[in-house]
């Protein structure tokens, strides 16, 4: 369960979020809104990358700011640009890198990394230079690097922005099949089929919070 209680945030003088109250028990939730609406900042608060200036965030009973380590074990975060998330030269090493603090043996880390890559269609790429993968493969690799940690929650910040249509579809299918609770920040409304709830943000405030159809109708009117 993710909870935002009276959450506000400002960067200097600029207010990016104010009075956000949300309880999120649903399996599939999306934050949508125009650029600068505060949705990415809200998502970053879930695993403590950004601390709220006001109010508090609670994830499975834990405070992401004070108990960041425990929260980050539960929450995986996927960024827009996979190139910025790749830390190791090859795909297999990059996924295994996520497990380096797990206390597992090197062989076990490699085995688990290979298993996750195989499950998501990158089985033949373990020794492949990660930066030479296609955009879609890189984003899948970044996803694998999160999933190998078996998080309970996955937060994705505009993960399909840099992908072509085919890779977007493939990524959406992958997302659909995940057991984790997924919080998706997106402009891509096609990704939201099968979602339980959509939160629409505008100028740092929640202006609609509903099932996808009515929430998106509100969003379309807002941007029309």
């Amino acid at each position: 369960m993710i909870e935002f209680e009276g959450v506000g945030h400002r960067y200097g003088e600029r207010v990016v979020l104010s009075d956000v109250d949300l309880r999120i028990p649903e399996r599939r939730v999306a934050f949508v809104g125009a650029n600068g609406s505060g949705k990415s900042t809200l998502a970053r608060m879930i695993n403590g990358l950004v601390a709220p200036s006001a109010g508090r965030v609670v994830v499975d009973g834990l405070d992401p700011v004070r108990e960041g380590r425990a929260v980050r074990k539960r929450v995986g975060f996927l960024f827009t640009n996979p190139d910025s998330q790749i830390v190791m030269p090859t795909a297999g090493e990059d996924v295994a890198f996520s497990l380096r603090r797990s206390g597992l043996s090197k062989d076990e880390r490699s085995r688990r990394a290979a298993e996750v890559l195989e499950r998501h269609g990158l089985g033949g790429y373990a020794d492949h230079p990660a930066h030479q993968l296609s955009g879609g493969q890189k984003q899948l690799l970044a996803l694998c690097a999160m999933l190998v940690l078996e998080p309970d929650i996955l937060v994705c910040d505009e993960p399909t922005t840099l992908l072509d249509l085919r890779n977007k579809r493939r990524f959406a299918e992958t997302l659909e099949g995940l057991a984790q609770q997924v919080v998706l920040v997106t402009h891509d409304l096609d990704l939201l089929s099968g979602f339980d709830r959509v939160v629409v943000l505008e100028a740092g405030r929640v202006v609609a919070d509903d099932e996808p159809e009515p929430a998106l109708e509100h969003y379309r009117k807002l941007v029309a």
């Binding site: 695993n47 990358l49 960041g68 380590r69 980050r72 074990k73 995986g76 975060f77 960024f79 640009n81 190139d83 910025s84 998330q85 790749i86 830390v87 190791m88 030269p89 090859t90 297999g92 090493e93 295994a96 890198f97 996520s98 380096r100 603090r101 090197k106 490699s110 020794d127 230079p129 930066h131 690097a145 999160m146």
Partner: protein
């Protein structure tokens, strides 16, 4: 060390990463202590032999020769002009031996193995405040940064060329710096999201 791991089963590939790393450090010290062109030439020959034993593909060797060759020619010309022929030969042999050996280590060693070996080797220094995890990560990121910065430089150069500014220093430097800093920022955030900042 602008190289990627090339899988293999040769004795060089199978040698423990820690042994290769220490051997490289020792070799670097020896190279910079030696002044005899004969001995330095012999070390270059040993490095070349290492490539043959590791069965490194001609494509990879050619890539190294091209980048190393250009560097050696520039340094040789400068050294000859400034310090004379003897000094130019010694410096270039040192550069050739050191870079060829370092490149051989990265071609035959997974970065993951190298990082693990460094972390294991530095573990006894924990009592003095050394954090092996951080230093291991630093080595991994440094190797990775070479590829990332090369990619950014290529894209920026291409963009400058598209605007007809391929000879402009500003058209290259400004976007290169901006993108590098942005990459550093995003990488830091991604590492924090993966729990790397947590103790």
């Amino acid at each position: 060390m602008n190289a990627w791991y090339e899988p293999g089963t040769t004795v060089v590939h199978r040698a423990p990463a820690g042994v290769k790393f220490v051997a490289l450090l020792v070799l670097a010290v020896v190279i910079f202590a030696l002044r005899s062109p004969g001995w330095l030439g012999a070390l270059c020959a040993v490095a070349v032999l290492g490539y043959a034993v590791a069965r490194v593909s001609w494509r990879r060797c050619w890539g190294l020769l091209r980048s190393l060759g250009l560097l050696v020619v520039v340094v040789f010309a400068l050294q000859w002009w400034l310090l004379g022929l003897d000094s130019a030969v010694v410096v270039c042999l040192r550069i050739g031996a050191a870079l060829a050996a370092a490149n051989l280590v990265t071609i035959t060693t997974r970065v993951d193995d190298l990082v693990t070996a460094v972390e294991r080797g530095l573990r006894p220094l924990r009592r003095f405040g050394v954090r092996p995890n951080r230093l291991g990560l630093l080595i991994g990121l440094t190797l990775q940064a070479v590829a990332t910065l090369t990619g950014i430089a290529a894209e920026v150069r291409e963009a400058a060329r598209a605007r007809g500014a391929d000879r402009s220093v500003v058209a290259f430097t400004v976007p290169f710096l901006v993108r590098t800093l942005r990459h550093a920022d995003e990488l830091g955030e991604a590492l924090a999201a993966r729990g790397e900042g947590d103790r």
